[in-house]
Each structure stands twice: as C-alpha cells, then as structure tokens.
Amino acid sequence: MAKIIRTAHTEPFVEKPDDDMIICRCEEITKGEIRRAVYDGMSTMNEVKRYLRSGMGLCQGQTCQRLVQNIIAAEMKMKPTEVGMIQGRSPVRPVEIGIFSNNKTDVKEE
C-alpha cells in the first residue's frame, strides 16, 4: 500500500450541491457522507467502508465500488487506481446459514 501522511484538515468541510446523491444503494450512503468521511481522515476504500458501511450491503459493493473509489480519489487528489478496491470477501453471493451448515463433507462422525 502507498504511503499516506494523515493530519487533520485545517480548512473547513465544504458542502457541494450533489452531496445528497445516493451512492451505495444497499446501505443508502450519500456522496456527501463519503466526502465527509474522507475529510474526517478515512483515506482508503476499506476505511471508508468500515466507517460508513458503504459496500457492506447485499451486493457487497459490486454496484457502488467504482463510484466510491472515484469520490475518494477526487477528494484525496489521487488517481482512482491508486485508491484501490475494497477487500473482496467470501461468499460471492449471499448463502443461507442453513445451506452453509449442510456442508458436512469434513465433519467427524459423533
């Protein structure tokens, strides 16, 4: 991961007209909330996700990840590719607890 020096912002947070736009549909996180999180110090995709829940819903960021990446990049004056992606997490699609629990191929017999 690239080196990032983090200090508090000295200038105040500036709101923008399109801050109300919903970016993460699953968790209903707006552009303004993401911009504010970056202002608060969140500087990577994972940090913003953990702070706001963007990308933590049913689609796991498959819909909004690129948009979030672009917003962070713009706020941090970096290239989107430098911001990276959120950490991918298994399972690829939601799986019911009951179905997971049926995977018993490796379970010892009682």
Binding site: M1, I5, D40, G41, G57, G98
Partner: protein, 377 residues
C-alpha cells in the same frame, strides 16, 4: 514542506491500542506520530466481533474490563463524536449438555469470586431473556453488565479524534526494528527510513514480537486465526452478547440488524495461512452448524460476508502491558489473546500513565508485566 519524522512519542501500529493511546497522549499535550504498515484498523481491531465483556476474564486483567465498562464505554460515543454502537444488555453463555453446564458453573464461580455480577440461570430463564433460542438449551450463565460495540467505528473513531488533536498518522510504512541511542530506545527503522521519538510505544499485534526481538526482548506469543461471518440485516431481535459453552460461536445482532458471529473450525492452526488472512472453506459451515444448534430460527438468514483475523495469543492468554526496563523509552502492549477490544479504552489510560509518569495508577496492571514468564523449575 519538511516531512515530519520526529515526535515526543512514536507509536508502532495503527490498531485500536495505537489509535486510542495516541488520542490520550495528544490530550496530555504530547506530539505523536503513529506508523502503520497497511491501513488504520488493518489488524484485529477491525476484524473482531465487538464483545465488551468482563465475564470469563482472568482476575489479572479484569480491572481493565470493569474500569472500561464503568467509566468509559457508556459515554464513548459522545467523547469521540462517532456512534460506537455500545449496548450494555448483558452477555449470555448457553449450554446444551451436562458437560456444558459444568463449564458454565466453573466460569460463574470464578467471576463471582472476584465480585462480578454473574449467575447461572435455567433454560427457561434464558429463553425469557431471549425468546429466539432453541428449546434444547438447558442452562446458561448470565452477566447483565456485559455488552458489545462496533469495533470498526470505535477504532476509526479514536483515530479521527486523535487526528483532531494533532496526531500525525503515516500509513503504508512498515516498521523493521528499533535502535537505541546511548542505551535508550529512540530510532524506529522502517522501509521508509528512520523516525525518531523521545519514547516508543510498540503495539503492532503479533508483529510486536519480531520488532521487540530487534532490541533483545521476546515474549511467548503465537498467532491464531479466527473468523467472523456477517448476515444480511434482519429486523431487530435482541441486544445481548451471545456465547456458548462449547465455543462453537459467539456474537451479537448489530444496530444495523445484521448478525456478527465469530468462531473457528478447530483445525485453523493447521489449515489457515497466517501471512494472508484468508477465510478457510471449513470455518463458515462450522460456525453455521453451531448457530443452527442454538438458534434454528436463523436457518434462512443469508451470510453476506466472512473474514479472518488473528489473535496475538499469549501463553497465559493475558496481554503484556509494560515499560521495558532493559530498554528505557520503550513501552509495549500486545498479546491481547483475542479479547483486547473490550478493554482497549482502559488499556490506553494505563499506557498513557505508564508513558508519562512511569506507573499506571488508575488501573492496576502490575500482573501484566513482560517479565512474568519463567521456565520450568
């Protein structure tokens, strides 16, 4: 602009211990730099299941837990300006068999002996507290003052407050070792050159051990992988923290509605890759089977995400929080053994006192020294 490379204190590790102690030291007026190899909350601090528990703790660290629960957790959201989602609705530990009951009675006896409000309750009483669990549960232990919080928000909340108070965090810099000047710990060597501090706090989880080794200090700490699964959001069902005597899983329903449930397969020491925290295909099914035994009503709830993290497991399952006598200027805090989150707000008070006055006076940590490990007689 000249890059900042010196400070009163250099903290190694941007987990909850590093972030919360940075916050407290900055509040005392000290100039602090935190060095983090990846990103803030990369380690256990953003991978744990959020338990804020006093029950089933060793009396040697219980004071840290009781202090945090009595004095810090209830008002932490206001203090940090971030909702840490703290809920103090009790911890219930469930049993299905007579053998489980013995385990629970043993825990309960230990906790009550040190003055904690823990008691055994029947299966029916347990179902009164939480009506969603299986009829097969025959008994439980109950600690009404335990609870849970959101570890991501707490860690990043401490980070944000520390930033507000003037702390500099530098991420993407890996610490390689510590060097002494005139016998005192001063230089932190990294893959980005040297940083210098009047004092150094080493709180890099398991990696602390390797870094401490560079100044001749070692500790019996190992790495153990554990995993957590998270479900889709469900309507609110309960606020209690759950555990089970057999250890199949533990966890809670979050404010958001999802269930956050941790566990392991029992084979993790041999099947998991400790250099890359990848989940193992055995573990989520194993946690799911545990859930089905105690909460069959969650059968159709969907798992959306799983992850792995490691415990910095100390031989006596207790942390090491101390000033190192042989290396003046070096303070360490690691070996939290899978239960450091709940006590972290109190650990940072102990650390800030240790580092500014040489002694932790508010909370007794005298049994958590680095020199407590002895070989066989």
């Amino acid at each position: 602009m000249i890059e900042k490379r010196t400070a009163d204190v250099i903290i190694i590790g941007g987990g909850i211990m590093g972030c919360s102690t940075a916050y407290r030291l900055a509040k005392l007026g000290l100039d602090v730099i935190v060095l983090e190899k990846k990103e803030i909350g990369n380690g256990g601090s953003c991978r744990n299941a959020g338990g804020v528990r006093q029950s089933a703790r060793d009396p040697k660290e219980l004071q840290l837990a009781m202090y945090a629960v009595a004095n810090i957790w209830p008002t932490l959201s206001e203090e940090l300006g971030v909702n840490v989602e703290y809920h103090q609705k009790g911890n219930i530990r469930l049993g299905l068999t007579e053998k489980d009951v013995k385990i629970l009675e043993n825990h309960t006896a230990k906790s009550t002996k040190v003055g904690l409000d823990v008691k055994m309750i029947s299966g029916d009483e347990a179902r009164e507290i939480c009506p969603y669990m299986s009829d097969e549960i025959i008994a439980a232990s109950w600690c009404p003052t335990d609870g849970h919080a959101n570890p991501l928000k707490t860690t990043l909340g401490f980070y944000k407050r520390a930033l507000d108070l003037g702390v500099t965090f530098i991420s993407g810099v890996e610490v390689l070792g510590i060097k002494k000047i005139k016998g005192e710990a001063r230089i932190v060597e990294t893959d980005d050159g040297d940083y210098e501090g009047g004092q150094i706090l080493l709180c890099a989880g398991y990696d602390s051990r390797r870094i401490a080794n560079t100044v001749g200090i070692d500790a019996p700490v190992e790495r153990q992988v554990n995993e957590v699964l998270v479900t889709e959001a469900m309507p609110h069902m309960f606020d209690i923290m759950l555990g089970v005597a057999g250890g199949e899983f533990y966890g809670h329903q979050s404010e958001h509605g999802s269930f956050v449930l941790g566990g392991n397969s029992g084979l993790q020491a041999f099947t998991s890759n400790t250099d890359h925290f990848m989940t193992n295909s055995l573990t989520a099914p194993c946690i799911s089977r545990g859930i089905m035994k105690y909460f069959p009503c969650l059968k159709n709830v969907k798992v959306v995400r799983t992850w792995a993290g490691y415990y910095d497991q100390c031989i006596d399952v207790l942390p090491i929080i101390d000033n190192i006598k042989e290396v003046p200027g070096l303070t360490v805090a690691f070996g939290f053994s899978g239960h450091g989150f709940g006590i972290s707000p109190a650990v940072s008070i102990a650390l800030s006192e240790l580092m500014t006055t040489g002694k932790s006076t508010t909370i007794d940590i005298s049994q958590l020294g680095y020199d407590r490990f002895k070989s066989k007689g």
